[in-house]
Subunit: 378 residues, 4 copies
């Protein structure tokens, strides 16, 4: 694994827990973790149970005892690392967004295709049991033709103008701000549950345009300057309308300026036969409405998707003994292990990452051109 | 009052109830109601307590015993009736949307200004206690600078393709479909709570393009044809993004194809110091989040706006003995009575109706041009 | 009508509104209202639309132009007034609790039976559409055998120890405190939805034992003393367990010391085939769970009981245009009018009031004896 | 660890995860697991990461390489195992309820006191972050004097009369049914948050009195008979009222016959200055009401207790990336490790287990005697 901060912790935990809950055909061994700061990576390896560490990620890729490279670094490094790993014959799991641009993502996908190795992009929320169950209902036609999706990902952790210019606010490190970080998630869920996006129109905004520079410990600063003020060159908010190939209309909003919304990833999908609702902050529940319910008895059901009959839920605890954020990773890694053992790339793979990036890029272009922008799949 | 269906009932009830709950300086007397169908209007007058009836609305306007004309007819008649009434020296309350177009609305506003009479447009949801309280909080600066509004008005009553082509689905009668009916409401709340809209981009859609013609009893058919199939020439859904003059960004969605949402008018507003949430289906409650709450104790409060300290609530019942839809009309009419007695037009007046129509028109043009459209106030 | 405060307002409003919404066979005429304070009753009559007033309730009963006597006075007067009215050949609607004791209630019931007139006790919450719909489901066997009911009525308006000793806190005026005021409501709903109570065990408590005397305007003080401290001789809270004749077990809690619960009348009923939930503060909604829903799709539905298919809802507005507290009275009065026209006493009648009082009395005795107390119906 | 089913899994997982999330002074090593069925315990050891296994629990207690014995067996074995382990100089963690009776629990407590070893009883829900935060608020006096607690633990997994007679339905194995399984949890939370119980009155019920015998794989059958019908000799439901030493009144209900409630452990506590609400099915949230909030702004706040400022939450993920059931165990085990390293028994210890059992026993006696039963602490 390359990187060891927030996502490093989430992934490491999932590798440790997956054989406890699932009968996976391949059991992950936490061979080595890489990071630039020797002390930091050593401490992380020790705490999270990695058997060794490296300070140069290229060393990791060269090692023969490693089959899978997991990339949890800031976005600007994804492409170089993933392509190198694939070319070295490693399977790759890469954090989202897959790349800094659709072009970059396409090169990664091409490298993946050439390599014949397993590739996966970490859109973990697909693997919430409630989302998997929603997918099942939609696939079975239980909602019929889809008319609408409305999805938000609302956070509020940078609303204080004195919050520093951490790496997630620096374009050269992360490519975009809220857009690649949060909008990428709801785009993935929309593609998964509704289908491919045909065209978009949107707008992006940076509400706080200057912030104090982060100090050395406050995040990876690309410029290295501290104690001064820096320009915020990424978006604080991204909103767009999408038309899907199947005729559905979507509204999407990602922002870090929605006070009181700590982690407000929410979606509702309306079809001709019913609707579903989901909220990450109460992620075990799925709201389901069926138009076929008898008159008088129609209403959204609150389904706690923790029963044997719900995807992945049987691996954990009895009904309504709820699971949480980290279980999305455990479920996803269980599929990755199956893919590695079976020689296939489980969804969402680099193709999904690329298509997601096409939508992200189209919204950025639309925000500049102030027109609708079609998505050009190829 | 001209017209006597759904809105006629809501208005009539409010006129009857307003002196019971409020010490209004002018007590409405239900002098006369007009409608084209003699039997229908007579029955309505009797049931709703009107002292007389007319079958020609022009007779109503000529009567000397009438001070206020209340227009609750389909949209295409609003302008002619309102202008005639104003020119005859009557005060006017007109249902929303004010007109079929911004041009028409402007002529109505000009007639109102010329007349010197009281004019009001029936955006009743402003007068929900929870919305009034939200307005108070925002006006006092409790949310600080506003960053976002997201608003929906979701219904599902025409999802069945066999639902007939009633007047609300006929462009020559109502001007637009969901757009003027539902989007007009959330535009009004946004203008009231956030401010004026600067520019919009949006799209509109008709999912079911043909429907059976309504029979005579199924609604006012402009064409009069029955038993055959007609084209739906209005929108089933309207979604748009708005930028406000104060820098806020809004997302708006109105649809009649959101299964399970019977009356889903919902909004959330995020400011630098806090947020508010509201849902018409549980309209007594206001969600309020304050960033100034101490660490650990931060979260949305659910405030049941039925206490003495909440606007209009003291007129009704003790705390949490909830009120409903009809009370928005009673509150509004109490203000109209005060305006008539005091010689001023209470908000929302025809200027609000006109500005609302400018936004509606801009979205329609944007849907055609596929570009952002600025709002030109004059 | 005798009395004109909170309940007087609720009843008066219902009489005015009932012909607007319902085709009742008898239309109420608000002939006269009685109260001891001439100025007060005159103002009330004027504001609420009563045609005349009396300062002696016995005059009201003597009047030939009055068919129905509505008693909305403090509890200690109910029996004398109701019996006098019935003996004078008037129909009677009486506020709850019907009496100060089961013995008193029994005498009222006997008088009612002797009179042959229509009698009804105002347990208005039965007439919430959601409760009526719950009753329908239970009657149809949709929940099967009932195992449990848990019901609370939680308020918080007297938690301040400086809140004065108003009439509702004086035993000689109201008989009991929370018990007769709030527990009576949930007992009625339990009897209506589950069945007759067989035995109870419970306890009652007065948390604040002394309070400032109410001044003249602060409520009807039986003692007339002001400016001093008085003993609270009624309960602040009443909790009990009940066993029903059909084997169900109930838990009941009524209190005025539940901070943050303004009007928390809530119940859940569990049967072998499903469950229902209801909360007065969001009274349009009924939660329904059906065990027969398919695996994976099981969960409580939130049904907004405002559709044509829900009892009484069709009289008002389109689906999810919610109604409120006052509509329970309007629905109930519509039944009273039908009863008067048809010559029968609609439920809940004095028999229900008496049986309710038997349960109230049994809980009081249990609180003293610290044992289970059987209910002796006769 | 002795036992390896549901609780064995939950405990094993917590031992594995605790050093990943917490800097514990003692890191658990999963030395050995015991169970009677060799194949079963071997498979469990392998899957859950135990280094060895035993088929005789006494062998486990004799081993020198084991410091802590964790007892997750059916209730009837707790006392013998715990006393033997303590006498062998082992620390002990024991599942709840601590024993089959208060007498037995007292002997366990005495053995624990004699041993000087660390003892803890697994009332894991205390260690939900939201409960810990509620405890903090109450301890700081934020709710003032406590008036009420109402607590339920509602499940529905045995409602089908054909559900077999598993060990949890056999008195000789588990002592009681719902009572010791579910009521024990809400008694613990009540003791933790409100204080000691003074007296109780309650009733218990077995709705389904006969069930098919469980087959060999269906659970530990004490009798070993299969394919026939057996008597259910434990309670299906247990409800009681409690008076606390500090004057608070509690209502408690535990049942396995509440259709639609998969895991409905819920409580509300009302104090003179505010209230709290909690629901296990949405366990990250705490509802908090403060009477000191300004007029108009009063309402329950929904606090997602996943922030740095909330107990234990900082060990996991960013705000509102929710945790679940298993984290209550991880938090609890982190305290157990601190206790072992520091030489003290963290709460809840065997004294808590004993006091809990006193309440359980008193309710059982009350159900038989039909009177209030005082709790005799000694």
């Amino acid at each position: 694994m390359i990187g060891y901060k927030f996502m490093g912790k989430a992934h490491s935990h999932a590798y440790r827990d997956v054989p406890f809950f699932f009968d996976v055909p391949a059991v992950p061994v936490l061979q080595a973790i890489a990071g630039r700061d020797e002390a930091g990576v050593q401490a992380a390896a020790s705490r999270m149970g990695w058997l060794s560490h490296e300070t140069d990620w290229r060393r990791l890729i060269e090692r023969k005892d490693i089959d899978l490279i997991d990339i949890v670094t800031p976005n600007y490094m994804h492409a170089e690392m993933a392509i190198a790993a694939l070319e070295a014959g490693k399977h790759v799991l890469c954090e989202k967004p897959l790349a800094m641009s659709a072009d970059q993502a396409k090169r990664m996908l091409q490298a993946a295709d050439r390599s014949g190795k397993v590739h996966m992009v970490c859109h973990n929320y697909r693997y919430a049991s409630a989302i998997q169950y929603a997918k099942k209902l939609i696939s079975e036609g239980r909602l019929g033709r889809i008319y609408h999706i409305r999805a938000t990902y609302l956070q509020d952790w940078i609303m204080d103008p004195q919050f520093p210019l951490v790496w997630r606010l620096q374009k050269e490190v992360c490519g975009s701000g809220t857009h690649g970080d949060l909008a990428a998630h709801i785009i993935d869920l929309a593609r998964y549950l509704v289908g491919e996006v045909k065209e978009v129109v949107g707008t992006m905004e940076t509400f706080i345009k200057e912030r104090p520079m982060a100090d050395a410990s406050g995040g990876l600063s690309a410029t290295g300057k501290t104690g001064t003020v820096g320009q915020v060159d990424v978006d604080d908010a991204s909103v767009f309308i999408a038309r899907f190939e199947n005729g559905a209309i979507g509204t999407f909003e990602a922002t870090r300026f929605a006070a009181g919304n700590r982690n407000g990833q929410r979606l509702e999908i309306n079809g001709e036969l019913g609707s579903i609702r989901w909220d990450l902050e109460n992620m075990n529940n799925l709201g389901v409405y069926l138009s076929s319910d008898e008159q008088g008895m129609q209403g959204f059901r609150t389904i706690n998707c923790t029963e044997e009959s719900h995807p992945y839920a049987g691996a954990y605890w009895p009904a309504a003994h709820i699971t949480g954020y980290e279980h999305t990773f455990i479920n996803m890694i269980s599929e990755l292990m199956k893919g590695i053992a079976g020689g296939y790339s489980p969804a969402p793979d680099f193709s999904d990452g690329y298509r997601n990036q096409l939508v992200l890029d189209a919204v950025e272009r639309s925000s500049e051109s102030k027109t609708w922008v079609p998505i050009q799949y190829d």
